[in-house]
């Protein structure tokens, strides 16, 4: 009986290895836990932002070309900061002249065709309404990038939801991939909702939006 019981135990050598393994793991945890403020509430550690290519996890560190690539921090140093994405405010960087990206592949002098038209979309939920500025978008993009494939250029023709955006459709074709991420809610949801009594008074959303806008605003639905 006693013999059978003992046979079910792990061999001594394996037990030794297991004990060592436990000790190593616990020591590694303890070493990092020694700093009471080490736990960063799941936020990325600031010092680890914009790492050089060899340390970013997707570039192959043993590839000689990887080491020749420009580290992002080297370029971002002078650019206006932002809270997420590349941690660079690209719109400010462009407007302030900190960067001067070409609008034409070959000719650095070609000026962009900018359209200054805000579209207000009154959202169903409690979030502030969305103001879509054509100006900032046409600084970077051509009309054909969005119209008509992503957005039909017609009032009321586009069904947009945060769910679609999060799945990479509509605004999410760029926002959440390369343009500022969707976590920066108020950059789009930027116009406080109008007072409830205005809605009760039966004011048409379009007329309402136009009256509030400093420059010809259309209400998109």
């Amino acid at each position: 009986m006693k013999f059978a019981h003992d046979r079910r135990r792990l061999p001594m050598s394996l037990r030794g290895i297991a004990a060592l393994f436990i000790a190593a793991c616990v020591m590694a945890s303890a070493a990092i836990a020694a700093d009471p403020n080490a736990f960063n509430r799941l936020m990325p550690n600031q010092s680890k932002r914009n790492p050089p290519p060899a340390e970013d996890g997707i570039h192959d560190p043993v590839n000689d070309g990887t080491l020749m690539l420009q580290p992002p921090k080297e370029a971002f140093g002078v650019l206006p900061k932002s809270a997420s994405g590349n941690y660079v405010d690209w719109v400010k960087a462009l407007n302030s002249g900190k960067i001067a990206p070409r609008y034409d592949r070959l000719d650095p002098k070609v000026e962009p065709i900018v359209m200054d038209l805000d579209i207000v979309r009154e959202v169903k939920g409690s979030m502030p309404d969305v103001v879509y500025p054509h100006k900032q978008h046409t600084e970077w993009l051509d009309c054909s990038n969005c119209h008509p494939a992503i957005f039909i250029p017609q009032k009321g023709a586009n069904q947009i939801s945060m769910a679609a955006i999060l799945l990479g459709e509509k605004c999410g074709v760029c926002h959440g991939k390369v343009a500022f991420p969707v976590s920066q809610c108020i950059r789009c949801h930027s116009r406080p909702k109008t007072a409830p009594k205005a809605a009760e008074g039966g004011v048409q959303p379009a007329a309402n939006a136009q009256s509030k806008s400093p420059k010809g605003v259309n209400a998109g639905k």
Partner: protein
Amino acid sequence: MKKKMKLHRLVDRTDLKLLVWMTFALVSGAFVTVDVTRAEYGDVVINNYSDDVGMRPVIFPHWFHRVRFRCKVCHADLGFQLKAGGNDINMVKIIEGQYCGACHNGEIAWSVEHCNLCHSATPGTPTQVHESTLQKLVAPSDARKASGK
């Protein structure tokens, strides 16, 4: 009584304790040593053909290019679709001056002989937009796999 005895004999108590400790150690270790990749937001990995032919996949850094060119240059003039992996790019087209080859021709930017500057991803990294909302929300495990961890 006999059944109870069997159960008791199935796993020795000392071993059970050891097993519990090992699980604890592994779990705590996983939490502490987890190392998420943190490549630049908007970095696109293109692995349509690379892995199959034994080349490292391509990493396209959006940040580097948008410092120099507006989105319109590539996405309107050169015809790049707004989707990672959505462009059927190959080296023949690039050498002919299409896609990347419109600039990577030795005049505007480095030419195709500098293979490893573009083909610089860890082998096996799948096509993706790094740090994208979709990657974070829908497929976090795929994202970790994507990073080669």
